[in-house]
């Protein structure tokens, strides 16, 4: 099963490598990982998407909690939550393709953020599945480059993850 885990950790050098090291040492799977400081500079917030049986995910959260720099761990998938991922995608856009590409971007609520004579760079946010769908919708040879951030997640409603 796919799980999305949110972690609050001390914003210290090396903290990321402890988390990454834990996953590789114990053979856990990381699909995506995002991390950045929060409004409180001393804390970072990390989102990890992983897959595993319930037992494995239980161990993952326990092991994460054990890391001294980890302050809090929540498996967002246990309750209603929202996930978003950002993708920047550079596509070929020449001649009559330009109009078609712009239309496609609009349909997916993307924004064109850089333009050259031959290319567009489109910014797109959404769930991973939506980004995948966008890629699928394009002609393969039109895609010049993609970069994706991996999912960030937050609980729905008034539930907050705070220290």
């Amino acid at each position: 099963m796919r799980h999305i885990i949110s972690i609050m950790l001390e914003n210290e050098p090396g903290a990321l490598s402890r988390v990454a090291g834990l996953f590789s040492a114990r053979g856990y799977n990381i699909e995506t990982l995002t991390v950045a400081p929060t409004e409180d500079e001393s804390l970072s917030r990390m989102t990890i998407v992983t897959t595993g049986s319930d037992d494995v995910v239980e161990q993952i959260t326990k092991q994460l909690n054990k890391l001294v720099e980890v302050v809090k761990v929540v498996d967002l998938s246990e309750a209603a939550h929202i996930e978003r991922e950002l993708m920047l995608i550079k596509v070929r856009a020449m001649g009559k393709e330009r109009e078609e590409m712009k239309r496609m971007s609009d349909i997916f609520r993307g924004r064109i953020i850089d333009v050259t004579e031959n290319t567009y760079t489109i910014e797109l946010t959404g769930t991973g599945a939506k980004l995948d769908a966008f890629i699928q919708a394009l002609e393969h040879s039109a895609i010049l480059e993609t970069v994706r951030t991996g999912a960030s997640g937050i609980g729905r409603g008034e539930r907050v993850l705070k220290v």
């Binding site: 001390e10 090396g14 490598s17 090291g21 040492a25 239980e58 161990q59 326990k62 001294v68």
Partner: protein, 529 residues
Amino acid sequence: MELTGAEIVVKCLQAEGVEYVFGYPGGAVLFIYDELFNVTNAVTGIATAYMDSIPMVIITGQVPTHAIGLDAFQECDTVGITRPCVKHNFLVKDVKDLAVTIKKAFYLARTGRPGPVLVDIPKDVTSARCPFEYPETVAMRSYNPVVKGHPGQIRKAVQLVAEAKRPMIYTGGGVILSDASKQLTKLVKLLGFPCTNTLMGLGGYPATDPQFLGMLGMHGTYEANMAMQNCDVLLAVGARFDDRVIGNPAHFGQVQRKIIHIDIDPSSISKRVKVDVPIVGNVSDVLEELTRQLEASGYKPDQKALSTWWSQIGLWKSKDCLKYDKKSKIIKPQFVLERLYEITKGDAFVTSDVGQHQMWAAQFYKFDKPRRWINSGGLGTMGFGLPAAMGVQFANPGATVACVTGEASIQMCIQELSTCKQYRLPIKIVNLNNKYMGMVRQWQQFFHGNRYSESYMDALPDFVKLAESYGHAGIKVEEPGDVEPALKEAFKRKNDLVFLDFVTDQTENVYPMVQGGKGLTEMILAEEL
């Protein structure tokens, strides 16, 4: 007053009550030694401590901060190398952070599930100066180990225990680490239940007590393994259901039983075996509360059920699974350990290396007290025995310390005979010399069709001469009749290190044995003798 980083380290160690520092000098640590632990050499020791949850603080010297990352001479990413085998580690980049970091290191190493913590100090930090103040306490928002168990969970445990018909208590290293033998013994006595210890938990419950069934697991007793498998309620205390302890988890799971598990580390619970009543907390606190609630509930043992259970256990015991040939003309290793137990009146500190000798020591030396049995369980580090004995002797000057070892293991750190000479450490080395890596030979015999590749040692040194060359005494023992006199003679020499080289039966095997992957009760037993 301003102090240098090096002086601060020393002051901090004093403030933590550290009496002995083990180390090795080198360029980047000279400021501390007037420190460097050769960290690459220390990794095996750190990993050994990590696997067995042993509290330890390691201070290492690093190249100056300005040189870090430039492949400087003797630069090594210590924090990176040790990360997978420490509870936590720190790189101190500013002398102002040094004292508080060392405080944190001791706090982390000793509390919660203990473990090794490393502090890496660049050379310029040891020479920089700042005012020194050692914090009394330290709080970390990200680290708050649970101590008291959840009362509601403990109440559930009390209920299960009170209804048990075939109960079993299984305890491990957590009892030793939590200094909870007294609480455990009281509870086991109150309940009248059978008790077994893991290899790391020996001494947690007195081995000579009739309720003790011996060690369980791969080389555990028949009765302990049978009771473990067939119980209806299992109380696990500070033990982590290791693969060498419960055998194949699927086989273990074939029998329905309720499991209560007390452990300070939630990740130890329901890791290999699903548990019905998890109790996260410190063993001694939880056992006290459990006992209090039991007494308050007016608990009376179910004598009828218990006596049926004990007679079943009696039948298992009558297999006499540790029997060996007492009339052998060749020295049996078990015989040496039985005599060692008697001659030291069961009161020695016994360290061991890794192999058959380790298992025989665990089976035949009856530990009635905690912290008397010091061995490497989780990592199984050959070479552990002698340095461990040195540490024990430093910590307990005047105490009787025996290192039970094998001719292969002892050679891993044989150079420490020199340190023993330098510090006059009167350790007694009990070398069970079967001229084989016996444990490897046993596996080859059982599971690899007698193909003894690499395990035969025909290039062994003369251990008596070797000991003598370091300035110690050595005694070679070849006849069963000489075992006792030699041991007596050695332990009489209170001030000398004596190397006892026992020429033992090369063909002897450790029984019972549960092969890897097999069920706990699928034991290979000694042939009828």
